[in-house]
Structure formats: structure tokens, C-alpha cells
Symmetry: C2
Subunit: 343 residues, 2 copies
């Protein structure tokens, strides 16, 4: 055979999606935004839009059942999807759940996953409205679609930031990645010597950030209460660097981000050093923090700083300026995305 | 360990979904219908509702790439989801696509799947609005979510049929199942002797019904044109018997279905006999026809019979009467669902 065969790794996920979807036509005026943001946007009335986001979690790729409790898996599968709806400045209301399982899972095991799903639904006040179950030849596959609502004039796209807007991040970064490193280390030790007990004492925060992340409903509610509309927004699933790149590329801007402003938990810092990783690297390239990265107009600064758990980390510049991290010594480094590569 | 372990096969898919979802609470007035119909229903205005349906297709479970062309797979993945929206008497407008693939697939292979997806989108006028790609440890997994619209007073639920309503089916049944039997037979012959060429001449119709099924957009349009609102509806994915049971159970009714009214293509009949299967059995228990099964008031009969490709196959009775198939000799057989069991 002479047919061309391009390896998926040559392209990468984002270029692949672009290649696959660019030929598609839009037939309906109701479709406001398709591929290329955290969620799709569908007009449902003059003032309101619906947000829809889908994610698939696959055993062995996105999670490892050797250290992921099933209940936490169900909880996390929901929150990572809700996070995409919040990242559009919307409020999720419903989810559908598709689950595929092999025979090695018992009914009780699946019930545990659903207990986690229910716990997240109750916490975030979400209705489970459908889905299907089927068997799988190997592992566990969970696909969740989240549906939310937003006022049209409050939608936060990735593409609408402006020069001089402030770049803001919620919570702290890098902890989920270090939680994963801890779990992987203990897994390896256990596999080499099953008699050794796992030593995860004192790492609760990092482990919880990895195993049971929360979506920032509270931040969206606060922004609403203070009448701040982000000029752009994205959730941090692939690491800060990758998300900064997305906002800059979508909005056709550059930016300056200040290393000493990046919010880090003390435990993230000490654990990173134990692993010989710079804490900032964990934040920039780690991923799975599910915090919000967004921009606001400078005129919103005074209102913004009254909201807890928000940190201004930089500002947007003209595109030609480039995308830079500025360290404590005022050295300038170009930011490159090194987020999760699942291929 | 003393923990209880119930095998999934003991329960079956529908009982499993019921067990998993019954504890969930509804938080939003906008959620009109959750689990238990072809699609979920969300109110978006006084008069309109949104329909959402998700399905996952897994290699080795739902399709076999040894005889399924990738382009057809993409096409079919879309149409089976659209079929769920039509089965609520709605019109699909958007889809999201999640695809998981192992490294053995090239970019060109994935592009072929998307060509099929695009072909279906163009034919049915559907906007692709999102999705994600990720890697899979083994096979190919395709999850599609379809989104549609419907006027609230035209929604066809499964649960709203009434006694004496006529039971109607579109197209003909059993062909997709026989198409699958043909493909499986040729696969076995090929695997035993790769030098033998497949002998599928003259079976185009059956193969197309299996590999490239269509969703009945045309029937929904005709029902609209003739102002017929089905009193209940479902699409035939698991075989006529299983779908009749769903309508009867959801609507708390019995029914009489007449064997000689079940629409069969001549090729279905001759091929079924070649396989030593009764053609009616192929229709009742085969599945994957993606035709519509619905009910109408008797007063709509005159309008109904002017629509092509519809066949009245029976009528609903009181629940106590039971669910029966009546054969040409007036013998009465209770209908039992023996649809696809994917576990």
C-alpha cells in the first residue's frame, strides 16, 4: 500500500481537532460558537444561551484505578465537565453520563461511581438527565456531557481579551500535578514490594486536588455579585502555560506573566522540591488544577481585589510583544505550552 | 473480602440504569424529562424545548473494523444519535463528537471517520459544535451527543400512549440484522481462508441497512406536514419486540401486534430463510433498524395512510390484556424482549 500514514503524535491534539473540523459547515443561526472554546454556545432566546461541553475519561489514560477510588472518579468526572461550563461564565444545570465497563466491574463498583456522580450533582445542584451504559472490551470509559445556561452579554469566550486587560487566576496551581506524582511514586513502591504500606500522610491537600478537584462555582458567583464580566476565560486543565497560550492565540494578543505572582500552596512548594521540580514548573506545566484563568478590564481592578482567592498574575500586551514569563530577577522567558499530551 | 459482588449480567442494562439513577434529585424546573426516554428534554422557553441524547460506540462491542469502513462508521455514529432526537418528534441541529483512538490509527484514518461524520452532518443539516480527541489504550471509541429542538406541545414521549391508539412503524425491519449476519459469515470465511473473496453480491440493501443506516427525518417532516402528533414514539435500535415493551411499560398499556402487518423487505425474507431464521424473528429481535415506532389516535388514521412507508401493525390495549403478537393463524404469543444485550 502506498497510502499516506501520518502518526497522530506528529500533529498533536489541537492541530488534529483543527484538521478534522475545519471543513464543516454551519446550518443553524442558533449555533453561536462551535469547536474552539471550553463549551459550545447555542442561542435559546434573545437574551440567553445554552452551553454544552463533553469530556471522555478513559481508564489507563486519564485515570489509574490502582489509586483512584471509584467514588472520587465519579465525582471528578462531573466536576471537570462543570468546570468547562463555569469557564464560559455560565451556570451548569444538567449532565448526561455514558459509562462503558467490562465484566470485571460488579454492579456494586458501578454504584460507587454513581455515588460520586450523585455527590457532585448534589453539591453543584445538577440534574442527571440521561446517558447510557454499555460494555467495554477492556477498561472503564466515562463520558459526561454538561449543559449550562448563561446570559448572552455575560459569555466569556477565549477570543475576546483586549490589550492591557489584567490576567487573573483563582486558587493555587500545581498541587494536582504533585498529588499525581505522589500517587505514582507510591504505586511504584507498592508494585515493587506489596508489603510496604503507602506513606501519604500529610499530603491530604495535594491528593485531594488530584483525586477530587472542585469546579469554581464560587468564583463565578462572586464575579456575578460584583458585576464583573471577564473579557476572556478558560479553565486550567492542561497547565497554566498551555491555557495562557490558548487565550493569547484566540484573542490575538501577547502577555507578560510575573513568576512571583503565580499562586502556590506552601505544600506544593515543599513537595515540588522533594521531587526536584521547580514549583513554578508544576504550576505552568502540571495541569488538572481546574482553576479559572481569566482577564478583566483594568477598571474592574478595585472590585476584583475584594474577591478572595483571586490573584492578578500579569496583563495582556500586543501580539507582537510575544508571550512571556518574567522571573524575580526580571529575566524574561518565552512561555511554551507543555501541557498534557495524551497521544 | 466479604463484600457483595453482583454480576452485571444478572441485572441487564435497563435495570442497571434504573438502579443507578433512581436516587438522583432534580434541582431545576427547566429539566422536563431526565433518564428513561430516547432523549432528555430541557425547557428553553414557554413554547420550546431542547432535546439531548448521547451514545457511545465502542470497537469490538458495537462495531467490528474488519468489515466496517471508517467513513460508514462516522456516518452511522451520527445517524443513530439523530434517530433519538427524531424519536422525540424533534429536529436535531447540533452534535458534539468525542473520539478516543489508539496509536494504531493514523491521522488519515481519523480523517476518514470525520468524512463520514461530515457527510451525515451535511445530509441532515447538523452543526458540529464541539468535542474532544484523546488516546485510548486499545480500540476506537466514539461518543456523540445530539442536540435538537421541539415545540413543547409536539413532544412524543414513550409514556403518553393511550388505549386503542394505533401502533405504527416506518420502513421495514430486520434487514440491518441480516446485514450483520452476512458480514459475520464472510468474516469467518475470510479468517479461515484469506484467499477467498467475499461473496456479498446482491445484498446491497441489507449491507447498507447495517453499515450506513439513515435516521427518519423524512417521516418526522411528513408527520409535521400532516399535523399528526404521535401519542408516543421510540426508535427501533434494539429490535421491534424490545421497543414495543418499552412503549407498553412506559405508557402502562398492553398491545396486540399482527405478525402479517410487520413490514419486511423481500430480500430480508429470502436471506433470513438462508440463515434458518424466521423473517419475523429478525424483525422482532434483530435491532439496529433505526426506524420509528409510534402511536397515533385512531382519528388520525385517514391522514396517516397518505404518508408513504408507514404501516399500522397493531393497537394498544389495557395493561391487563398483556403484550401479544398474533400470527397469521390467529395464534397468540406473548412478546418478550430479546434485544441486544451488550453485557
Amino acid at each position: 500500500m502506498n497510502e499516506k500514514r501520518t502518526d497522530i503524535n506528529e500533529l498533536g491534539e489541537f492541530a488534529l481537532i483543527d484538521t478534522l473540523t475545519k471543513k464543516f459547515t454551519s446550518y443553524h443561526n442558533e449555533t453561536i460558537k462551535g469547536v474552539g472554546d471550553d463549551a459550545a454556545v447555542i442561542s435559546i432566546s434573545e437574551k440567553e444561551a445554552l452551553l454544552i461541553s463533553t469530556d471522555t475519561l478513559i481508564e489507563g489514560i486519564h485515570f489509574d484505578l490502582q489509586y483512584t477510588p471509584l467514588k472520587h472518579l465519579g465525582y471528578k468526572a462531573v466536576t471537570v465537565n462543570l468546570s468547562d461550563i463555569y469557564a464560559m461564565n455560565g451556570n451548569p444545570q444538567q449532565i448526561t453520563v455514558s459509562i462503558a465497563i467490562s465484566n470485571r466491574f460488579s454492579v456494586e463498583a458501578i454504584e460507587e461511581i454513581y455515588e460520586g456522580i450523585k455527590k457532585a450533582c448534589d453539591w453543584y445542584e445538577i440534574d442527571l438527565i440521561g446517558g447510557d451504559t454499555s460494555s467495554s472490551t477492556s477498561g472503564l470509559i466515562l463520558t459526561i456531557t454538561a449543559i449550562g445556561r448563561v446570559e448572552k452579554n455575560r459569555i466569556a469566550f477565549r477570543s475576546t481579551a483586549k490589550e492591557n486587560d489584567l490576567l487573573v487566576v483563582s486558587g493555587d496551581l500545581g498541587a494536582a500535578y504533585l498529588g499525581l506524582q505522589l500517587l505514582e511514586r507510591e504505586k511504584q513502591i507498592f508494585n515493587e514490594n506489596p508489603d510496604l504500606q503507602p506513606d501519604l500522610d500529610g499530603y491530604d491537600y495535594l491528593l485531594e486536588r488530584q483525586l477530587k478537584p472542585e469546579a469554581r462555582k464560587d468564583i463565578i458567583a462572586q464575579l456575578y455579585a460584583f458585576d464583573i464580566i471577564p473579557t476572556s476565560m478558560i479553565d486550567i486543565s492542561d497547565g497554566l502555560a498551555s491555557e495562557i497560550m490558548h487565550l493569547c492565540q484566540s484573542s490575538q494578543l501577547g502577555c507578560n506573566v510575573y513568576e512571583d505572582k503565580i499562586p502556590l500552596d506552601p505544600k506544593t512548594c515543599t513537595t515540588a522540591l522533594d521531587f526536584n521540580i521547580s514549583p513554578v514548573t508544576a504550576a505552568m506545566n502540571g495541569g488538572e488544577d481546574y482553576e479559572l484563568l481569566f482577564s478583566v478590564r483594568q477598571s474592574d481592578y478595585e472590585k476584583l481585589i475584594t474577591i478572595k482567592e483571586l490573584q492578578v498574575i500579569g496583563h495582556f500586551t500586543a501580539k507582537d510583544n510575544g508571550i512571556y514569563l518574567i522571573d524575580k530577577q526580571n529575566q524574561i522567558f518565552p512561555i511554551k505550552a507543555q501541557g498534557w499530551k495524551h497521544f
